[in-house]
Amino acid sequence: MQADARDIADLISRCALRDRAAFRALYDRTSAKLFGVILRILKDRAETEEAIQEVYVKIWQKADRYVSSNTSPISWLCAVARNHALDIIRARRPTNEDIDVALDIPDLSPNPERQTEAAEDSARIEYCLGTLDPDRADAVRGAYLDGFSYEELASRHSVPVNTMRTWLRRSLIKLRECLTT
């Protein structure tokens, strides 16, 4: 882990110990990044200002869970921010519950190669996105970075929603194959 990441991991651990000064330092070090993540999804400054406070409340409350996660400290913080922003827009969207999800999921077969951990080459996801059609790679990026829904992606790419969903699911399966080989 890089020195910067170690510092941030240390600050998160000290938040778990209820160290308010560490919380302040963590905020100073990371809030611009998380503000960027949330703003990109909510696309509204006033909402982002409210949301980022809620995110840091969560970080303070859940700091002890960081140590059990397997991600880098910055990724963990970004995930808390991103998921919170997504919760906000999900609650606001017209409900589109016609999408069926295979919920009755039997065990997935283990994939030994998948166990290679996250520290690996961060260029890999970019490389693998590059193996998809540019349109579809854009859709995956749009879903992750901008929090676009299937409807939004469909209208941006001028295709029906069902087509977008089929595209994206196939792209995700291809992406997974690329990432695990």
């Binding site: 308010r20 560490a22 503000f35 303070w60 519950e97």
Partner: protein, 233 residues
């Protein structure tokens, strides 16, 4: 597996990816979340996607939030009163279980971050600066290979009715008490066998504020007012 099984499995993995991307509606999202919470293989699949997509985070431009936000946030978290002193965080330490959990969490974090000590280093000289932001308690610890740590208090005031207690956190173990230590003084603390077993570069020393006489059950209950990792001189 048959061709059809493979296809079904791909579908399931894609569903977890859709969940991670946030593409599902509220009901489907909540349902798959509940499912993931029950099943380790789905958790692994979720972690796979979370970790891989996380590399895209660096495509997001940082945007500095307005400076007044932190004050609002502090008020929201810690109450409307003016910025309180570090000592007030004692409120959070009333629950011993929570305290023990958090200290154990730090121990795990440090184990993950620091190289494992190796026994060959036992004879080398080690030093640790113990401090914490927001606290004026500072100690320096020196270990010269003789089996004892010389602890020098640099700053910090005695707190009536309380004592400072020294802890060793190492190798993912629970903190081991090294006893109550005075402020404004120098002391020598012998390493117990339990501490010595894991002692070396990467061990963490921490000072907590405890009830007079030290933590009653050998488990830290007070705030960490200073801490530092042991490093070679």
């Amino acid at each position: 597996m048959t061709e059809q099984d493979f296809e079904q499995e791909d579908e399931r993995r894609a569903a977890v990816a859709e969940y991670v991307l946030g593409l599902l509606g509220p009901k489907a999202h909540a349902a798959i979340e509940a499912r993931i919470a029950q099943k380790v293989d789905l958790q692994r699949e979720r972690d796979f996607w979370v970790q891989r997509f996380a590399h895209l985070d660096n495509q997001v431009e940082p945007v500095t939030p307005p400076s007044h936000l932190f004050q609002n946030l502090e008020a929201r978290l810690f109450g409307a009163e003016k910025r309180t002193s570090f000592w007030d965080s004692l409120v959070f330490w009333r629950s011993m279980a929570a305290g023990a959990l958090a200290v154990a969490a730090v121990a795990v974090a440090f184990t993950a971050l620091e190289p494992q000590p190796n026994s060959g280093q036992l004879a080398t000289q080690l030093v640790a600066a113990l401090q914490a932001e927001g606290s004026d308690v500072e100690f320096v610890a020196l270990y010269d290979g003789t089996g004892a740590v010389r602890l020098t208090s640099l700053s910090g005031d005695a707190v009536p009715g309380s004592d400072y207690e020294l802890w060793a956190i190492q190798g993912g173990q629970n903190p081991i008490s090294m006893g109550v230590v005075p402020v404004n003084a120098r002391t020598t603390v012998e390493l117990s066998d339990a501490v010595r077993a894991g002692w070396g570069e990467g061990s963490v020393l921490a000072i907590t504020l405890e009830p007079a006489g030290g933590a009653p059950n050998g488990v830290p209950t007070g705030p960490v007012v200073a801490q530092g990792a042991v490093t070679k001189i």
